[in-house]
């Protein structure tokens, strides 16, 4: 984009100068044109200059003593005053090769870039040189003996914008540049930012976008790729099939057998419950086979009246049914000893299940009926909160329906102040957390009332030295045993027959099932006809 004026410079001249130039043209030939040969093209003005010269011009001639001859030889300078009205041209020395066409620089003012005038070099801007015609026959507008005009000082930013101030494009690669020097960016070639590098494009790229290419929608796949795709599709389709539906279709005899086994187990359990039979042999407490149950019973049995006992009720709802007869037997024993029960749980469901157990099974006891126990509620925070509670029970903020749960427990400052700590637990993990976090802080150790599934994992803690677990009772069997120790008939005793018969049925079914499975595997396989395989 060029910022040159499209107008002819002549048109921009003022009217008085145009009139003067017009008159000059009428009086003399065009000075820019080469001087015609006097013989070939005689000019009217040159034929009789003396006659037509005005008086003021002759006076000037007489003042400078000029001869008419040279004037005739140089018609350009015969009207020196009028010559000033013409655009000034800088004559080039002869023999100098023509300069290559330079890049057009739009920022240069029109005074330096008028028609027919070459763009001055940068030096010419700072130190303008007034070139005079070699053959001066007129009075210059200013003389050379005058004090030269000092060059103006350009500000640094303008010097940086001068043409030639920016480096030329470096064709070297980045690796070739010394000292990690970087190449300049793209240089703007047009517009007001011409000469600057690393400028944003003036035109958005969106305008350059053309018609989007058209791609073929047809997949160019080979036969091998088609085979792989078919195999993958078959795999995905097989995964989408319902496994259960296939098991129903294929293993229907096995499902029937499972239902028969379930029915047998159900009958073995249901029949004693319906008949309320008490025919099965009760576990003998004096057999010496359950010392951990005996130990727990003895520790509770010697408790003084009013002794504080902490009950950690770590029970999940899934095992609440199994825990109920066992916990009922132990809590009943504690309440009979007039212990001051304090409940806590690290499980969200623990406090509510403890309340349910107390109200449903032990609600007739005076201590439960009058609410003479403390439920500290849910201890949130896992083993970290448990560790804090073991170290400082009062320091741990507990949730409770009561306003101040410690109001009735003024004598308890630390965990060792409890006479006993009983952990009622669904699994081994909860009890293990209590054992590991309490460590040696509990001189009386812990008593455990657990589900049967936790018993094998917890028996190891019964034999450690010092004994962190001093008593353990588990499952329906433990409930029946504990009730027999106390000469009571409660839930444990009523469940015992169903438990015994159900256990016998389970053992029998496992043996029969194993035998059936062995027979199935020993049965000779039918020879399948070729091509009947599913894989085929």
């Amino acid at each position: 984009m060029s910022y040159h004026s499209a107008k002819d410079p002549e048109e921009e001249l003022p009217d008085w100068l145009k009139a003067l130039r017009k008159r000059q043209n009428q009086e003399s030939p065009e000075p820019a044109e080469p001087a015609p040969e006097p013989a070939a093209a005689p000019d009217a003005a040159s034929e009789a200059p003396g006659e037509e010269e005005p008086g003021w011009l002759q006076e000037i001639r007489s003042r400078y003593g000029r001869e008419k001859g040279p004037i005739e030889e140089a018609p350009m300078s015969e009207e020196p005053a009028l010559g000033d009205t013409q655009p000034h041209r800088v004559s080039k020395p002869e023999g100098e090769e023509p300069q290559p066409e330079k890049e057009e620089v739009e920022w240069v003012p029109e005074e330096f870039d008028s028609e027919g005038e070459s763009t001055p070099e940068p030096e010419a801007l700072s130190t303008p040189v007034i070139e005079e015609p070699e053959d001066r026959g007129y009075t210059p507008a200013f003389t050379t003996n005058e004090e030269p005009i000092s060059p103006g000082e350009l500000p640094s930013w303008l010097q940086a914008l001068r043409p030639g101030a920016f480096p030329k494009e470096d064709t070297r690669s980045g690796e070739m540049l010394p000292g990690g020097e970087t190449l300049p960016g793209e240089i703007e070639t047009g517009g007001p930012l011409a000469g600057l590098s690393d400028v944003l494009p003036a035109e958005p790229d969106l305008g350059l976008s053309g018609k989007p290419p058209v791609f073929s929608a047809r997949l160019d796949v080979t036969q091998n790729q088609q085979l792989h795709a078919a195999a993958l599709k078959q795999l995905v389709d097989e995964e989408a099939k319902s496994i259960e539906d296939e098991s129903r279709r294929v293993a229907l005899p096995t499902r029937v057998l499972n239902m028969v086994m379930g029915a047998a187990l159900l009958a073995a359990v249901l029949f004693p419950l319906l008949t309320q039979s008490r025919t099965a042999v009760r576990p003998d407490a004096n057999s010496g086979l359950f010392p951990e149950v005996q130990s727990l019973h003895d520790l509770i049995d010697v408790l003084p009246a009013g002794a504080p006992v902490l009950v950690a009720f770590e029970v999940q709802p899934a095992t609440f049914g199994e825990i109920t007869p066992l916990a009922t037997a132990v809590l009943n024993h504690l309440l009979d000893r007039q212990s001051a029960l304090v409940f806590i749980s690290t499980l969200p469901t623990g406090p509510s299940l403890a309340e349910k157990l107390l109200q449903d099974q032990l609600g007739a006891l005076p201590a439960v009926a009058t609410g003479d126990y403390v439920n500290l509620g849910y201890l949130s925070g896992g083993i970290a909160a448990l560790r804090s509670f073991i170290g400082d029970p009062r320091g741990v903020t507990l949730s409770s329906s009561q306003a101040d749960p410690w109001q009735d427990l003024q004598a308890l400052d630390q965990l060792s102040d409890f006479a006993l700590i009983v952990v009622v637990s669904s699994g081994a993990e909860e009890l293990r957390a209590w054992i590991e976090q309490s460590g040696g802080d509990l001189p009386n150790g812990l008593l455990a009332v657990t589900s049967q599934q936790a018993n094998p994992l917890l028996r190891a803690y019964l034999q450690t030295d010092p004994r962190t677990l001093r008593g353990l009772v588990s499952g329906v069997q433990g409930a029946a045993l504990y009730e027999r120790m106390r000469a009571q008939n409660s839930l444990g005793s009523s469940y015992w027959d169903a438990y015994s018969y159900g256990l016998g049925a389970m053992v029998l079914l496992i043996l029969l099932g194993g035998l059936y499975g062995r027979l199935i595997t020993l049965r000779p396989e039918k020879v399948k006809p070729a091509g009947s395989s599913r894989a085929a």
Binding site: G321, S399, T468
Partner: protein, 242 residues
């Protein structure tokens, strides 16, 4: 309209019995009603846990102390309350993926403290005491006392305890020893002595797993008995059966 508490009890009993029957019907096969009951249990458990978290944790440990502080009756130290509030707010930033990184320190604190307590507790409460118990089996003092007292039965028991414990421990450890010597181009083969002990260890491992499995079975049996007993009682209550 307020319902009679006894009627509410009966309704609850009937609902519980129906849900129990539907759950037990899974023994016959999977069906949509069982799935509905399953989703109901999951939803109720989640809702109950959320309600407990709000009622028993957030309100009494954070909101009520803040309200007491505003009311001018502080129930908690201001610094502790500030720490609780700040940690809670940082943990809340985990709700948004943009701000989740702000909650990382709190999560790291929880995980770090939990891991440290678990490791320290396992070492002090489980590993060291059980190593001591296993080593105590070979205490010759018990053997000498029983021998001097003429209790030969107990003497044999002490010897058997030590032998069984030694065999069980070493053979179980040998079972998990998978080192084998190189035999050139032939495949590596475990030492025949280690192989024999490992075979014995497999037996002990099978016995231990069988004990765990039987415990799970007995737990399920106890739960089944309790549920069937409940159904019988519910039927007696609802239908007047004896």
């Amino acid at each position: 309209m307020l319902l009679d508490p006894q009627l509410l009890t009966l309704i609850g009993l009937a609902v519980a019995a129906i849900l129990t029957l539907i759950t037990l019907s899974y023994a016959v096969g999977d069906h949509p009603i069982f799935r509905i009951v399953l989703y109901l249990f999951v939803g109720v458990a989640s809702g109950y846990a959320a309600a407990i978290a709000v009622q028993d944790v957030i309100l009494p440990q954070l909101i009520y102390p803040i309200m007491d502080e505003i009311a001018g009756t502080p129930s908690l130290d201001l610094v502790e309350l500030g720490v609780r509030g700040a940690l809670s707010l940082l943990l809340l930033t985990k709700l948004s993926p943009r701000t989740a990184r702000l909650g990382n320190p709190v999560t790291a604190l929880l995980a770090g403290v939990g891991a440290a307590l678990a490791i320290a507790g396992a070492v002090q409460g489980t590993i060291l005491p059980q190593i001591g118990a296993a080593a105590g089996t070979f205490n010759t003092q018990n053997f000498q006392l029983s021998l001097q007292g003429g209790h030969y039965g107990e003497t044999i028991q002490v010897i058997l305890d030590g032998v069984i414990l030694l065999l069980a421990t070493t053979s179980t450890l040998a079972y998990f020893h998978f080192g084998a010597a190189s035999r050139g181009k032939q495949e590596p083969l475990r030492n025949i002595f280690v192989d024999a002990i490992a075979w014995l260890g497999a037996i002990f491992i099978a016995v231990a797993l069988a004990a765990l499995f039987s415990g799970v079975l007995l737990t399920a049996l106890g739960a089944l008995i309790e549920r069937l007993s409940f159904l019988i009682k519910a039927a007696g209550t609802l239908f007047g059966a004896p």
